[in-house]
Amino acid sequence: MSFGYAGRLLCLSLASFFLVFTSLNLLISLLAPLAIGFAERRRPRLGALLLLAVRLLPLAGGLLFVGILCVPSYLRLEPALDQEQAGPVSVVIALLGVVLCSVSLAASVRALRKSASFFRPAQETKLPGWAGSAGVIEGPASVLALTGVLHSRLVISRELLSALTAPELDIALRHEKAHLQSRDNLKRLLILLSPNLIPFLPGVRAMERSWARLTEWAADDRAVAGDYGDSILLADVLVRCARMRRPPEPLLTSSLLCCNGDLSARVDRLLGRPEPSHTSSAVPVATAALAAAGLGALALHPAILHAVHHALELLLD
C-alpha cells in the first residue's frame, strides 16, 4: 500500500505505539510480583503511586516513544515524497494500534457515563463537613462513595446516613475527601486508558488489586492523620458498614475471601497506631519530571534520532 507523507507518519506512529505498548505490557506483567512486593513495603501512598506508575508504563512509554522519538525523527529526517510504499506488516500493526486506542477510549467513555448515571437517582443533599456536591440514594445499605472524575460527587445511602453518628460520619467523609484530594477516580480512568492486552497473565490484575488496596490504606491514613482515637473510630465505621451490607443478588460475583481479607487487614492497620501520612507528593513528581526532561533531551540527540528513524524505516518496509 502507498501512503502520502502524513499517512506514513500516522501509520508509523500507530504501529510503533502498539509495539512499544505491547512490549511494556508484557514486561510489567512479568515484573508485577516484584513491583507489588516493593510497593507494599513502602508507605501506602508512595506504594500506590509506584504501582500506578508501573501500571501506566505501557501507555506512557507508547506516548513518549511516539512524541519524543518517532515524530521528531520522521519530521527531521524523512524526505517529503508524495507517495511511498508501506509494507503490509506495518499496516496491520498500525491497524492493531487503532483497535487498541479505540478499545481504551470506548472503555473510558463507557465508564464515565456509568459513573455519571449512578448519581442520577440520588437526591441532592448537604452534608456537614462536605463542601462539594452530595446525594442520598435508596439501595444497598452501606454505600458511601465518591463518583465522577473531574466533578466528583459524593453518594451515600439513606440507611447509612441515619445509622452513623456525627463523629462517625465526619471520619467517613474525611476518608472520601482523601480520595478526592488524591484524584483516585482520575487515576482509575488513566488505568482504563491503558488496557491490559495480556489478560491470561495474572500480573497486571494483581497489580491493580494491590493498587486499590494501598489506595484505601492511604485514604484511611489521611483521614485519621495520626490520631489513634480517630483510627479506632474509622475501624468501627468500616466494620459497621460491612455488617449493614446485604447479600449479593445471584448475578453478582463478589468474592467472600477477598472482602474478608481486605477488611481484616484494614482494621488491623488502623488498630495498630498508623503513622501520619505525608501529604506532599512533590518529590516523586519532581523526580518523574526531571527524568522525563532528561529523556527528552537525550532523545533529541542527532545520533539517537537517526537510529530511531532507521529502525522505523525497517518497520515501514
Binding site: A107, G139, A145, G148, L189, A235, V237, T253, S254
Partner: protein, 136 residues
C-alpha cells in the same frame, strides 16, 4: 424531585406504565387501547403481556379478558432500579477500575459474621486500652 419512569422501558411501555399508575387499579386491554387510540389493539395487548412477563404488572383473567394492574408504585420501582444500578456498579468496585468510584467499603457481597464479631471485639479492646491510657 421530578418523577421519571425507569430508563429500561421503551416508549410504549412508558405510556402503559403511566396509565397503570394513573389508574391505581385494574384495567383491561380494551381500556388501554381506548386510552392509546393511535395504536392497534394487538400492539397494546402484546406490550401489556411483555410488561406482565417482565414482572412490572399483575394480571388476572375474568370472563375471558385479562385485567392488569401495576405491581409496584412508581416510587417503589425507581427504588428497585436504583438498587439494581447501585449493586451492579458496586460489584468488585475496589478491585476493578471500571466503575470510576471510590468506596468506603465494598457495598455488596458477604462478610463472614464471625469475622465481624472478632473485629468488633478487637476494636472494643483497643477503645478500652485507649481509655485506660488516658485516665492513667
Amino acid at each position: 424531585m421530578p418523577q421519571q419512569t425507569p430508563a429500561e422501558f421503551g416508549p410504549l411501555e412508558v405510556r402503559l406504565m403511566d396509565l397503570a399508575w394513573a389508574r391505581q387499579g385494574e384495567f383491561s386491554v380494551r381500556d388501554a387501547a381506548e386510552h392509546l387510540a393511535s395504536l392497534a389493539y394487538t400492539t397494546v395487548m402484546t406490550t401489556l403481556d411483555r410488561l406482565f412477563k417482565k414482572g412490572y404488572l399483575n394480571r388476572r383473567m375474568q370472563d375471558r379478558a385479562f385485567f392488569y394492574s401495576a405491581r409496584y408504585s412508581r416510587a417503589e420501582l425507581e427504588q428497585r432500579q436504583a438498587g439494581k444500578l447501585v449493586s451492579g456498579l458496586f460489584s468488585n468496585s475496589h478491585s476493578s477500575p471500571e466503575a470510576l468510584i471510590s468506596c468506603l467499603v465494598d457495598a455488596v457481597g458477604q462478610y463472614d459474621e464471625s469475622l465481624l464479631d472478632e473485629l468488633e471485639r478487637r476494636i472494643a479492646a483497643k477503645r478500652e486500652e485507649l481509655r485506660n491510657g488516658e485516665t492513667a
